[in-house]
Amino acid sequence: MKIRKKYIYIVVALILFTSCEDFLEKEPFHQPVQQNFWQTSEDVESGLNGAYALLRVAFNDKVAYYTYGDVPSDQFSYTGYEDYDNIRMYNLGERLNENSSYRTMVHMRDWTNFYKVINHVNTIIAKTQEISVNEFDSEQDKNNKIGEAYFLRGFTYFYMTRIWGDLPLLTEYIRDPVNQPYVARSPKEEIWDQINSDLTMASDLLTWGYNRGVNNAIRGSKGATLATLAHLHAWQGNYDQVANVTQTLLENGGYALIPGNQYETMFDNPTTENIFEISSQLEDEEEFQEDGEFTIGRKLLKFPYTVREFQVEPEWRFDVNRFRTLFNVQDGETNDSIPDLRLQQVFEDIGSFMPITTKYDNTGFEFPDETRGFYVDNNIIIFRLAGIMLLRAEALAAMGQTSGSIELLDQVRARVGLEPYNGEQELFTAVMEERARELWAEGHRFYDMIRMKREVPTFQFSFINDDDFQAEKYYWPIEPLLRTNDPELEQTEFWRSRI
């Protein structure tokens, strides 16, 4: 009897032992998980870095940053094979089948890359606020990090709203993406309000000098926040607000133009002029592609300005007439004879039929012996001081504050060795033309042209006529698959019957 009882006790003990939930609680070792990751200041820091890395993916995917900002502009007369030339001509309505996910057109019409940033930042904002301030260096450290997150959200929405106009507005951390309800697009005015509020919040939380070390234009700062806010106001046509914001930025930002004879250096490393840019450096293995097909180097460079010997011509070719008119270059001219230091510093073969810019010419091969792994080691410059000065000049010109505008315009011109503004050209146009020269192939020209058209109705787009401009053709269509997966989404208005 005794033995039997012992057996029973063992069995009972075994059953009880196994009953605990703990036995069934297994957490993964191989990856951190959303549910329990966010604990310290360092976690937030790596999360913020992740947000920039995601933004970099969005900008590098099919060279999106330049494809959105430069390809459909008057800078190019041919932008190569596949879909780039259709994008240049603003033929964005081609319907593609489900096997076309590799196509540039599909990538460009798809905003998923940007929503990856938005959701990640929403998570950071929500989770960081829950972390005790004791986990941070100081209260300001916490504020700066939250501020940076708000900047990232404001900036990303701003970048998107210039492309698509109306957007689904998400500002909360999505706990259960699997059961996320469908979200419709909010009118762009609501998006702009959200951007305004995010950037104002960021500006309040961030301190001057935060992230103002030499290399830290690659992270958000108060300067970058105000630069974005100024651009938002310009996009909205609130030029008086542009003037206010840029004034604050110019007075307190501590940024300075670099000398004209060092013009090229700001494309290699952040200088006192750089306000915000996206890091793309080889040492991070950030730019390594087997043949570099989708790098800015393949699009804009030719041998010998790139290490790829077989690249005898750039894939994207300047509109030579426009280029020559803009920079006042004659046929056959070489860049030593030109007063504009920009031409000397970052352009080549300017008088030929195939001029190029060497802003992004730090090229190399990951495996030089096999000429494999073509890379470009240049950051993506988004905002820099000269651009902001000209944006302010634009605003002042539009508001009729001529002298203030000319003063800024002349500062930018003088830096590159040009004569002061002579009044030949109408001032607003002159400022916009200076922006075109200053920011050639820096992802701004298409948006500048839209602002130009709003102020100067006689200005003409090659591929968007006046009626289509009124109908806001310049906002991109969204990839139809997005609508299949989210039936609440409407197609961008202009494209409804055209895709």
């Binding site: 069995v11 196994t18 297994k26 959303q34 790596s46 947000a51 690659i218 890091s279 293995e285 494999r372």
Partner: protein, 1035 residues
Amino acid sequence: MEKKYNFRILKILFVIITTSLFCDTISAQQVSGVVSDAKLGEPLLGVTVIEKGSSNGTTTDMDGRFSLRVRDKKGGALIFSFIGYKRDTVPIANQDYMKIELNEELGQLKEVVINAGYGQMKKDMTTGSVASISGEDLQDLPTTTVVEALQGRIAGLNVLGTSGAPGAQGIITLRGNTSMNPDTRSQPLYVIDGVIMDPEVSGAAQAGLNPLALLNPNDIKSIDVLKDAAAATIYGARGANGVIIVTTKRASSNKPQITVRTEIGMSTRPALRPVMVGAAERRFKMNYLKNNLTNPEQRRLLSLMLTDSLNTAFNNNSDWQDMLIQGALTKEGNVAISGRTETSDFRMSLNYYDEEGVIKNSGFSRMSANLMYNFRPVEKFRINSNVSFTHVGRKQGNGDYLFRFSGWNFPSSFWQITETEREYHTGALEDVRNKNDFFLFNGNLNLQYDFNNHLKFTSNIVGNLNYSREDRFQPGYVAWNGIANATSNSSDNRYYSVENYFNFTTKFNTESHNFNAVIGQSFEEQYSANTYSQGRDIPVTAIKTIQGLPDKNTTTSTYNGERSLASFFTRLSYDYKQKYLISANYRIDGSSRFGRDNRWAYFPSISGGWIITNENFFPESKAFSFVKLRGSYGITGREPGGLYQSYQGLRSDINYYNNIYTQSYGGAGFIVPNYVENVSSPGLSWEQTSQTNLGIELRFLENRISLTGEVYERYTADLLFSRQIPAITGYSNALDNTMDVLNQGWELTLGASIVQNEKFRWRSDLTIAHNENIVAKTPGGRDITSAWFSVSQGGPLYNYKVWETDGVYPRTSDVPVDPLTGERMRQGWSGGNQYEGGDPRRIDQNNDYIIDGNDLVSYGSSDPDLYGGWNNTFNYKGFSLSVQCNFVYGRNILNGYLSDKLNGASNNANNMWGSISGPASDLGDYSFWINPGDDTEYPRIIPNNIDQWNIQSSSFIEDGSFFRVKFINLGYSIPRALSENLGLDRARLWGSVNNVWTYSDSTLLDPEAVAPNGYASAQAYPVPNKFSLGIEVAF
């Protein structure tokens, strides 16, 4: 929640234990003993023992033992009866311990005792759907694994070899597919001697092996297949796709016996695909190009390989296929030693199997050692132990595709094959290294304690350790990118499980009420670890491992994963006078893979049966020996996919372009959500299958003919499937319980002893099953499509979605014109290319004059409508002949070989046709459009308007039905008199053939050797014919 259940279970346990303790009184009138087979000496399980002149009785246990309280120990007698054996009446004559030997009744079906999971049961008394096959039927066949021998043997079990590669996994699916992965088919759960092997997470599965491939086929005593919910619910959590239970052999006779067995086999060179070589190829291609290349620029750019017929580098007539294949040898050796005493028995077996592949440098070898030792220190306590070790080695050429040439880049015969190339392609290159090993160590300790005649406690402890490792090296001159590289991939799995259960049997009112209960619990835990390393740019070919490389040239990643499962289960069975049977199962499983709120699942089942022949009103008739009706309903489950379904992962890298990962931003590391993979959520839960089954079992003419019929309906709900979610979440795809699949069908099993007398016996077995596979629910009711396959509500899982194509347009004027626009049919969209003469005539299903996704139609699937087998066994004196056939019907397969080939044929033909064989294969049999007016089967090879017409066209889908004589086996047992003279217990010789003859309408080399999704790739491993000769002696 689970605590509540525990208490309930404890309460029940307590009641059972206490009541049974009272019954436990040993009587002076007790008789015990053992019953065995007179010929084989094997203990017989399930023999009915009844005291003569009463209804007092019992049945024997798995050692053939019984123990019974008798009324009259002195003058009474015991009757031993067992179907298939002669009934025996033995006087007790005051014996305490009796040894009984029963003689086989020739030609009769034997009583089948099945392993129902946590207990044995007589098949006649079960209410669930269970099919069994004896190990004898699976032996002596020239197969790499036992899986192949199961083909067509069990109604409803669809076994198809997808490749002729030795040890390839193939399809083994019970009652229809529920796998949401188009490239695989669902598999049943395997239970080998009580060790549960989940086909998805066991180490074997991770190494790409079927758990049955690890078994020595000669160790198998029987295989039981639990088909319906009533049978499988006892394995609830994982029984949704059926359960295959393997029981291995135990010592058979009382005297120590040594069995030695050896077999040698040969695989013949498989058939080749017809190709044109040398001058014939050149003439064919040039002729075709001359007629088709209209653009003078293209004519000018003809590949040198075509035009320069004098250059020795490419004026050859190399036959690439021929170089790769060979006739191959198979060797097998097997030794088993067994013995038995009053209190213990053991069996030890060693097996060595080595098969060369018919593609050079491919092969499979298995070495296994198995020791089973069972010991009964006291009458009531039994220790069963089993230890096995298995090693599987696979030769896989250079480690990529065994058959090295895909359809589209199959090289032209013009190439000269250099010695290096020959060595490389045949995997014989000394510089290349590819080593692939799998080790399995398995230990099983089973403790049984009999409290009394009624109550038995079993504790089963299983430990399982396996390890697989793959080391490869490729020198730079053969690597695709010219860079020498070495990889090492190893993984190990540790697994243990503990099961405790009580078995309770009792009878009330003598024989009228029979009651049996099983109740227990189990828990298991698995830990998996994996290490993958890669080294690039290895400077010296003599170094074949990852050694001395700079950091940037090496990559290492490790993975660790854990899972656990806790379960409680019970089964209650009751019968009244063996006429009315009822049984209920209940199982509760909790899995670590799901979130706290969704991890527990409940799996009930209920079943009943009626044995009409045991009714008093049923007339004693020769015609009907046995009639049983039964029905069941129940729910089984499956825990799918990844180990950490409830968590949303974060990553420290981003896939930013073509799998180029970046790990830092501005020199600092980062964290981002795992947007790459499917996002999951704590809301995910079990997949559940509810199944209804109705069956009838009939036996006629003194059990000479048996017929079993089944009808079933299996509804699998909440299958985890990756569905696209709104992109505004940042994620593209989410795993969700979103798919429902219905499988319904019927099964027939017919067995007959057609002739039976002392000299000659002929037995014939036929199985046939029909299954219909219907997708009942898709996410949002939408179709899920890829290039060829689609899932749509109401259709089967992964049917072909293609444009119905009816030949070609002979002339441009034959293309239909849209009356509204006056324009010809367009491809793709309203701005797409217009069709011309020589383009495929795709049917415009919706008459909008645009051929697009809306015109795709369903075109069948690769899962058969009907499948089964027909087996005949003849015995004449010592000779035996068995012929096994199997068939599938109503199955469509995709001629990917032709489709791929035409892909290579069409692109850039003027240039490409030099280096690749292109159309110079067997395309001579097909007609292609050349000149306007040609009315041909296929469009022009060199395309004009309609890009890639070789994809998504009904022209490539064909009937994959076949009937195959799979095995013929001829054996001879040396007469006993002779073998005894030789000092042998017995001796047997046999010869057999695998893959004898096939009938099929398919144009493919082998309609069975296609991928599970039906795609017959050019790279499919050909299926050889195999012959073998063997001998077995026992002494």
